[in-house]
């Protein structure tokens, strides 16, 4: 089969440039295979994160021809080979080296989210109908491609005020957990900045697990925030009943 040219970003915090590598294409080859070929034969110090090579761990996130992708899931035969294939690190995160970025910010945000808190006295009888919805969110492999593509982070750098789609998915998984008894609506509005999301759906477009991030996680959470903070009738009802805002 024909060769492909990969144009890979090489550099670190100080800056960098792209370098071209010629790679023989085999049937069914993915971009990560090509990167491994480069490591094995042309540039042993080319830095890349990867683990499972089966789209289960979410390590090999990068931007292939400008699109945030998992390299292990991006088939070479789906890319035009007449031009070099551009492989760049995720743009939204600070670069460490070559294709590896510093994603530690995500782990810091994650710590802000109160953990699963079972309702007191639950009998742990849980039915599939109640679980289906949450299981979709639990498919997340933390590839952070949604964080990378989200313009609130990518273009507006709201790293201080905004948690990003990944963590709305996590919060959705907790909020809609049939046994969880805690409300995170205030956190969503005040600390995770759900209001910054303008539901333009790029997170959903790039999700390799095909989680309907916008429709099933973010919008339902926005509606829950509305229940708590913007719906005058519901707010009045709660006031009359004297309901505590931390419980569901």
């Amino acid at each position: 089969m024909a060769d492909a040219i990969l144009e890979v970003f090489r550099g670190d915090r100080q800056g960098g440039k792209t370098e071209q590598y010629r790679v023989p294409v085999a049937p069914g080859m993915v971009v990560l295979d090509a990167i491994h070929y480069i490591q094995g034969h042309l540039a042993p110090d080319l830095a890349v994160r990867w683990n499972c090579k089966a789209a289960k761990c979410g390590s090999c996130s990068a931007e292939v021809n400008g699109r945030p992708r998992l390299m292990c899931k991006t088939r070479m035969d789906a890319l035009p080979l007449d031009q070099p294939i551009k492989v760049f690190p995720m743009k939204s995160f600070p670069i460490l080296k070559d294709l590896v970025t510093d994603v530690s910010w995500n782990y810091k945000i994650n710590k802000k989210i109160p953990p699963f808190t079972p309702r007191p006295g639950t009998d742990w009888k849980v039915y599939q109908d109640d679980v289906d919805r949450v299981q979709e969110f639990r498919k997340c492999i933390e590839c952070f491609l949604c964080q990378d593509v989200c313009h609130v982070l990518r273009d507006h750098d709201k790293f201080e005020q905004f948690a990003g789609p990944r963590f709305f998915v996590r919060v959705a998984g907790l909020e809609m957990h049939p046994v969880d008894g805690k409300s995170r609506a205030k956190l969503l509005r005040d600390e995770l900045g759900i209001g910054f999301c303008n539901i333009t759906k790029c997170c959903t477009e790039v999700c390799p697990e095909e989680i309907h991030i916008t429709d099933n996680a973010i919008i339902p959470l926005k509606e829950r925030v509305v229940d708590q903070f913007y719906d005058p009738v519901l707010m009045l009802v709660r006031k009359i009943r004297g309901v505590n805002e931390d419980s569901k």
Binding site: F9, P80, D155, G195, C202, D215, P220, K222, Y230, D231
Partner: protein, 251 residues
């Protein structure tokens, strides 16, 4: 924090490494929404040619004070705010116009203008949170439109099927699908429940929520179909009312 030291020219407005013609994603939305906006504004202010025989334009339903007893302007202006508000605050249309007109972002992984972006945290966009109240209004308006669609099959007390009656029926069906597939309705029917099996009426609400969820997956499709159909229905009635077209009797 992002990418400050990377010497890659994709940070500026519409900068991207994408190879495809990303702007084709927003072009149809921009054109269609623009065309509808101009037409609807024109029709709302026109205040004429909105009814013919049993037909009433959806832009003018429910028809209030057509004889201008207390409202001197076009009667459409009295009610159009509700369906338009429903669409303006709709979770799907928000995506469409934020992308097509505000370029926030123009397309995925395509750079946008650097400025003080606030999303939906500040006025006026914080009002998007009131979508459910527009839903309530839209449901009421939808009731009138169903009434209109049914009486459109009766001319002078006799059952009659005209092209217009079919158009109005199709339109109200599409509008209903669009309304029923609404994200806010989905939330109110069942989305807000964490544990269906431990809530009273949980089972029927789960069924309802499931059904709306299935429709909701195609909310975008219904949004466009119903937008086009409502515009064309009005156009048809306008042309018939103005005498440009003649409504053909089918049955």
């Amino acid at each position: 924090m992002a990418g400050e030291s990377v010497t890659v020219s994709q940070g500026h407005f519409v900068g991207t490494l994408r190879r495809d013609a990303w702007w084709t994603e927003i072009l149809p939305a921009a054109l269609l929404l623009g065309a509808f906006g101009i037409y609807a504004t024109f029709r709302a202010f026109e205040g004429a040619y909105y009814t013919w025989g049993p037909y009433l334009s959806p832009f003018y339903s429910p028809l209030i004070d057509p004889q201008h007893h207390f409202w001197p302007w076009s009667p459409a202006l009295l009610i159009l705010a509700f369906p338009l508000g429903f669409r303006t605050t709709c979770y799907y249309y928000r995506k469409a116009y934020y992308r097509a007109y505000f370029m926030d972002p123009p397309a995925c992984a395509v750079g946008e203008r650097k400025r003080n972006y606030c999303g939906e945290t500040k006025f006026p966009f914080i009002l998007q949170n009131l979508h459910r109240y527009f839903l309530y209004a839209a449901i009421i308006v939808l009731g009138f439109l169903w009434y209109d669609a049914i009486i459109a099959f009766f001319l002078d007390g006799h059952f009659r099927v005209g092209v217009g009656s079919i158009i109005m029926l199709v339109n109200v069906v599409l509008l209903s699908t669009y309304t029923v597939s609404c994200h806010s309705l989905r939330h109110l029917v069942g989305g807000k429940i964490d544990c269906f099996s431990c809530t009273s009426m949980g089972s029927p609400r789960h069924t309802g929520w499931r059904a709306i969820s299935i429709l909701n997956e195609r909310h975008m499709l219904y949004a466009w179909c119903s937008l086009i159909s409502v515009g064309l229905t009005d156009l048809y009635i306008r042309l018939v009312a103005a005498g440009v077209l003649r409504d053909i009797t089918i049955l």
